[in-house]
Amino acid sequence: METVGKSFVRVDARGKVTGEAKYSNDLVPKDCLQAKIVRSTIANGRVTAIDISEAQKVPGVVKIVTCFDVPDIQFPTAGHPWSVEAAHQDVPDRKLLNARVRQWGDEIAAVVATDNVAAERAARLVKVEYEEYDPIPTIEEALAPGATPLHPDIRKDNIFVHTSFKTSPNFDYEKAKQQAIEEYGEENLIEVEGTYRTPRISHCHIEVCTSWAYVDTNGKVTVISSTQIPHITRRVISQALGWPVGRVRVIKPYIGGGFGNKQDVLQEPLNAFLSIACGGRCVCLELSREECISQTRTRHAAKGVLRGLATKDGKLLAREGDIYTNKGAYASHGHAITAGMTTNFKDIMHDAYGCRADGYSVYTTSAVSGAMRAYGVPQAAFFADSLTDDICYKGGFDPLKFRMENCVPPGFVASNGITYYSYSLKECMKRGAEFIHWDEKRKEYANQTGPVRRGVGMGIFMYKVGVYPISLETSSARMILNQDGSIQVKLSATEIGQGADTVFSQMASETTGITMDNVYIISTQDTDVAPFDTGAYASRQSFVTGKAVTPGRGADDLAE
């Protein structure tokens, strides 16, 4: 191959090293107004009254909007393509500003002023009265009997969704254990159980979540935003405002990292609303670093109550897990991440008898958990690999050898049909063990004493590409021939720092035969001109959008 497979320099490198690449905040017009969100100072309750009289007197304040002034429309925010099947549609469970407070810092009002000092002073002077309920920030508190349901209009308690996946319909861990006892004898079995936990963490993309909006001359609200999903943001803004999609335009310039946080629709709908509320004037709504960490999206905190059974000679027989995730105040990505966590925990190892993995995503009064790099699989890997090593430690097995014998085998087909076509997990393990001098170190560090000790460890994973068949995977590409024989490549798949624009250019070049220096990819996505694509997530773009740029491979070949 000419271009694909070669380490071309990034097409956007020059603009970034000279600092001339424009990010959202670099394009804000001079006279743009500044908005500041007023956030709740309780974690669970209801806003009963808001007094903005004091705040309105601050010089420079242009408009103050409260949770009582917004459209009575609940909308979803997940960065998923819309589903034509009602059962799979993302749950609309929040308004632009919310009187029903479900997390500390929930958005309840917003101030628009001529500069940030005026906006911040006014925001501090907005007086709010609450009817306060007990906060239930943890999974345990939210599931405790009598805990207030956070979304009674959607769920009767705080379990958002509960799913159960098994390797075979009638698999039951206790029965499998009895069978093992009969077959091997209790003394020849190793069982490990425990509760394992992973934390809630923040993406910490160095560019904060920021956008600015205005209503253009023909009444179209235009939002320039640091987002991974311009087209989905456009649809959600139209849902949130009750505006037709045609009158909403989203533009994504360069973005300073997203890692999944910007795969949710965050402050963009409110930003559009504030501009409209100010007669279409330009309003910038930049979240502070503190707001980005605590008030946007986080990785799901998860708790795994796990059990594993193996024979004394190192054969994995059965496992089961009840996995609870802390969903936070709103649905966002719904149960997708928790479901993916449980299937991944189940699929990564091969259990001779079988495996059950239940998943509960639980509403709590804390920040909203959404998508973050690897979408639930880091939690699944921590659960699976910890349980595996605890079994090995108790049974005295070598963790590498145990995985070689019991990990997911080649030719594996998942319950939803995804097949493990090109399998080299075991070669990867061999290469990693070789590099770290596994056998040698396992012996060398065997019985150490003293305050400082050394150890070697390993972890494995499997990860699907994109979201098919769970959700729609669609991507469009447009190429335009220029007079000099070069081509413009126009995609809605977004460059978020992972190098998408570069590899798309390589694929376009490889396919058309036109050399790289004659391939011009347009990095800014503008939903007015860019063809539809759901955007950057699930490591899908090179795979799904790649095929739009590269006809003739993939399904066609196979079909042929």
Partner: protein, 306 residues
């Protein structure tokens, strides 16, 4: 923009004192790496600032006629770490301030701010305690000198009056001559970090480098304010450097002289473990440096100009 009502640029210490006494709500700003962060978070929003950023006399390190080392409070951490007098006579102080934040913060933040904002987690605090550094304050009523060991009145609070400016820190010869030392900062991260625990141990050995004549032990974050552990210091006097039991001694004895709190940042129990372990390791390193003949003599007045 910061929420500041008035901004004054003082050209001299006297002018700064005058401006402070005229404006009740004014706060001193020097490097700004603490004050501007608080302002941005809304603390003190709408107040005024008196900047001493542009007063050259507050910077630099000098040797006074009686071999006292005088440190300018507006000296930034980087300049302190690289200053020849500090490297020669107080290397552990240079190392201590080299653990603050990152390079950019150290190019701006000053030792005056580090001490005067009264934080027990300030990276220079533990070391300055062991040096019995004297804080020279200039106010409307003139100059007064307060040993740093009596400077703190509570978490984030000091004896400095609102209209007093710190003009210098003085370190007398008997507090640095013959001493070697080591500051250990313990953090959750290796940079851009506020100390979970800071420990400075300094020793002066006898001429034969065989016995400990004097020990100085200072802590940050082991109590609401930076502290000394004088009983432990006394217990170590006269001990042989070969005697391995001195490490167990310092590790247990300091626990009676500290009072760390429990917070979401670290539990009391964890801090006690660090207080004990860091003291042992810092003592070992301090002694090693003495045996390596790193103990300085008295500074010579005017040495900084050569």
């Amino acid at each position: 923009m910061f929420d500041i009502e008035h901004y004054f640029e003082a050209k001299s210490v006297e002018e700064a004192v005058r401006l402070l006494s005229e404006h009740e709500d004014a706060e001193i700003i020097c490097g700004g790496t603490d004050v501007l962060v608080k302002l941005r978070d809304g603390k003190g929003a709408g107040g005024s600032l008196v900047s001493i950023h542009e007063i050259p006399s507050l910077r630099g390190v000098r040797v006074l006629p009686d071999a006292t080392l005088e440190i300018g409070p507006a000296t930034c951490f980087t300049d302190l770490t690289n200053h020849p007098l500090i490297q020669k006579y107080l290397p552990y102080l240079g190392e201590a301030v080299d653990t603050v934040g990152g390079p950019q913060v150290r190019n701006q933040g000053t030792i005056g701010g580090n001490i005067c904002n009264g934080a027990t987690s300030a990276d220079s605090a533990a070391t300055m305690q062991t040096l019995n550094a004297v804080v020279v304050l200039v106010g409307p009523g003139g100059v007064r000198r307060v040993p740093v060991t009596e400077f703190y009145t509570g978490p984030g609070r000091t004896v400095r009056q609102h209209d007093e400016v710190c003009r210098a820190f003085e370190i007398k010869p008997e507090d640095y001559v013959g001493f070697t030392g080591c500051y250990m900062k313990y953090g959750k991260r290796a940079a851009m970090e506020i100390a979970t625990l800071g420990c400075c141990v300094r020793v002066r050995l006898d001429d034969a480098c065989s016995r400990i004549e004097e020990t100085r032990i200072g802590y940050g974050v082991a109590a609401p304010t930076p502290i000394r552990c004088r009983n432990t210091e006394a217990a170590l006097a006269g001990k042989s450097v070969e005697d391995e039991s001195i490490y167990e001694l310092i590790g247990t004895s300091v626990l009676d002289e500290v009072n760390p709190r429990s917070s979401w940042r670290a539990s009391r129990e964890f801090r006690l473990q660090l207080i004990s372990e860091l003291a042992k390791r810092a003592l070992k390193e301090a002694i090693r440096r003495s045996l390596n003949h790193e103990a300085p003599g008295a500074a010579v007045p005017g040495e900084e100009r050569r």
